[in-house]
Amino acid sequence: MRSCKLETGLQSCRTAACAALVVLLSQVAAAFAQEGSLSAGNRTFSSGYRFVELSGEELFVNVCQGCHMVDAAGATGAGSYPSLAGNQNLEAGNYPIYLVVNGRRAMPAFGDLMSDGQIAAVVNYLRTHFGNNYQDTVTASDVRGARRINAAGTQN
């Protein structure tokens, strides 16, 4: 594998002497406690252009949550990021696969940043969390199929 994981947990952060940082760290810890999510020490930083996160949850927390937010409820400014919670567009697994691979409007394309397995993992995670309960899993070969359709130019 070209890239390796680079864990820089806050525990390893040599900042104990710095009062300002301690304050910040406690704010972060509080934020995480509110969010009920992974501890701050589990932040992952990819070492190359592509993501190294493998599990659906890890991908959601480190990538999707940037726009769709911690609870997947989305957000609205001059435009919106849609809520993925209880979202019926996730019913057909190929639709979210297509969007993650190719992007659409405000949604960036992640086809070059994630492997087939990563995309399948994050789609499966979304389809079984946040009030979604679609038990049929998608597979890496479904993602491969979506890439082929795109390469053939029969969609877009």
Partner: protein, 531 residues
């Protein structure tokens, strides 16, 4: 005239034109002959002909929208601008102490920088060849100062090389250039270039390599005062009894190659980053503010556009007052210049052709994150002798950029502690809370400047996908999408024309926004005057 050469050399022709017709004519001749074509900007736009009171509604008070407003008003149009934010400028934006910013998700930051210190979360540097932007700065009295792209004494850093110790740009560059020169000189002297380079040219090449690479008389790059003049000294020349300089040891070629530090050298070579670069004194938003001051109450703030309709008589835009979101209002005009970022425009109802709509939908927006950090003192100057410029690293923060103003002062300073653009880390930083981004920027940056640990005070972090008024940094065109959709995006569609960095060949640059606006209103005006 019999001795006139049959073929006039290009340079001779130019001096002839220059002598006979003056420098302006020579400039035009140079441009048409392929010299000096550094900008498509042709000087202040002249929209000739009477628009007969036609009205234009401009959506967005960023640089594209305000350029269009300024020039169309000057040409006799009635103009009105609708802006989502409570300020003008859009991505032309500066955060200072006391400023508050709420990103999507409701995370609120209040910048705690000392008065006079700031960061530019968006654009921060202006190439000398961005002539349109420079011209507007001149016309609007925006004072510029140098932006330092290359500081020889800043660092290049690779976490896995040189035990994590950052290296001076000066040394890496000199040692790389010197040892490549040495190799090439060796190949030349061994006759390995005989097929490619004539004997006469080989002699000159050797002289050039010796001069350019700081080689000694045997064409070697060694630890001596010749290379030290390029790479720096172990003990710099002094005075009196401590006067004698001494040379340090060059970094070995293999170490440079394997460290991959060479990959940052292009940041000092490519056209967009060549000297001279500029920044507005006091913050990038001085430009947006100057435009807004000139435009006055033509701009209506806090107006969130929800729909753009057109028919053969005019354009109707629905918008909500974000201060009083219950009410939808409408604005009408004969024409519309729409500069709303495509990430947002693609979500709105807009009456345009299928081809235009497909183009609007085809451009995702790049991820980018900037983190500004305030420190108790300017340790990068006091301890490390780094005055402005940028250090590059392969850590997720990518760069540390030092302030290009306020040099050599005691007291606090703010530096750019991270600038991530595209790639996995930019998304990973976006997915954090602002406070986490600051913590991680400090933690990573301390690998380059250990002083971070004791000197850090506070920070702000902007992740562009969480910026409510853009939902992303800039239009991220793929080559395929550009080939298929770019012309359709720029065409006038009925009574609507799009402008902005996304409608330019200079994505993410302010110059692209301005050139796009000038091109769009030139075509629009042509249509208005003809009809």
């Amino acid at each position: 005239m019999g001795s006139e050469p049959a073929v006039v050399k290009r340079r001779d022709l130019l001096s002839l034109i220059g002598a006979m017709a003056g420098s302006a004519a020579m400039y035009h001749a140079m441009t048409s002959l392929g010299f000096a074509s550094e900008s498509p900007y042709q000087g202040p736009i002249r929209l000739e002909g009477d628009p007969k009171g036609a009205s234009v509604l401009i959506l967005g008070a960023g640089l594209a929208g305000m350029t269009a407003a300024l020039e169309l008003r000057k040409a006799g149009y009635q103009v009105q601008v609708l802006e989502f934010n409570s300020r003008a400028g859009g991505r032309n934006w500066t955060l200072r102490g006391g400023d508050s910013f709420v990103e999507l998700g409701g995370f609120t930051q209040t910048c705690e920088f000392e008065q006079g210190l700031y960061i530019n979360p968006g654009p921060w540097r202006i190439p000398y060849h961005h002539r349109a932007l420079l011209d507007y700065c001149k016309r609007l009295n925006v004072a510029l100062e140098p932006f330092i792209q290359l500081n020889h004494n800043a660092f290049l850093h690779a976490a896995q090389a040189f035990d994590g110790v950052p290296q001076r740009i000066r040394s890496v560059r000199a040692d790389f250039q010197g040892q490549v020169s040495e190799l090439l000189a060796k190949a030349t002297r061994q006759g390995k270039l005989d097929e490619a380079v004539s004997k006469e040219d080989q002699e000159i090449l050797l002289q050039a390599l010796r001069s350019w690479g700081a080689l000694d008389r045997n064409y070697n790059y060694e630890s001596n005062l010749i290379s030290a003049e390029f790479r720096g000294y172990e003990n710099a020349p002094g005075g009196g009894l401590s006067a004698a300089p001494s040379a340090g040891d060059p970094i070995g070629l293999s170490d440079i190659l394997r460290s991959r530090l060479w990959r940052y050298l292009r940041n000092f070579a490519s056209y967009n980053f060549q000297t001279t670069m500029f920044q507005p004194a006091g913050g990038m938003d001085m430009i947006g503010k100057a435009f807004a001051k000139e435009l006055g109450d033509v701009i209506r703030y806090n107006a969130k556009v929800t729909q753009v309709q057109q028919d053969d008589r005019g354009v109707t835009v629905s918008f909500m007052d974000t201060e009083n979101s219950a009410s939808t209002q409408q604005a009408t005009a004969d024409w519309c210049v729409c500069t709303i970022p495509l990430s947002i425009l693609s979500q709105l109802q807009i009456d345009v052709s299928t081809a235009t709509k497909s183009a609007i939908d085809a451009v995702p927006y790049a991820a980018a994150v900037k983190v500004g950090l305030q420190f108790k003192r300017r340790f990068w100057e006091e301890d490390d002798a780094i005055y402005g410029g940028i250090s590059y690293t392969d850590l997720p923060i990518r760069q540390i950029a030092y302030p290009n103003t306020g040099f050599n002062r005691t007291g606090r300073g703010v530096l750019l502690g991270a600038y991530l653009f595209d790639g996995a880390n930019a998304f990973e930083f976006t997915a954090m809370t602002p406070a986490e981004r600051v913590v991680h920027a400090v933690d990573f940056g301390a690998a380059i400047h250990p002083q971070y640990r004791s000197e850090f005070e506070n920070g702000v972090a902007v992740a562009w996908h969480r910026v409510p008024f853009t939902l992303g940094c800039s239009g991220d065109w793929s080559e395929e999408a550009r080939a298929q959709h770019y012309r359709n995006l720029c065409q006038i569609d009925g009574r609507i024309v799009l402008a902005g960095e996304h409608a330019s060949a200079l994505p993410a640059w302010q110059e692209g926004a301005i050139l796009s606006a000038l091109d769009a209103i030139t075509r629009l005006h042509g249509r208005v005057v003809r009809t």
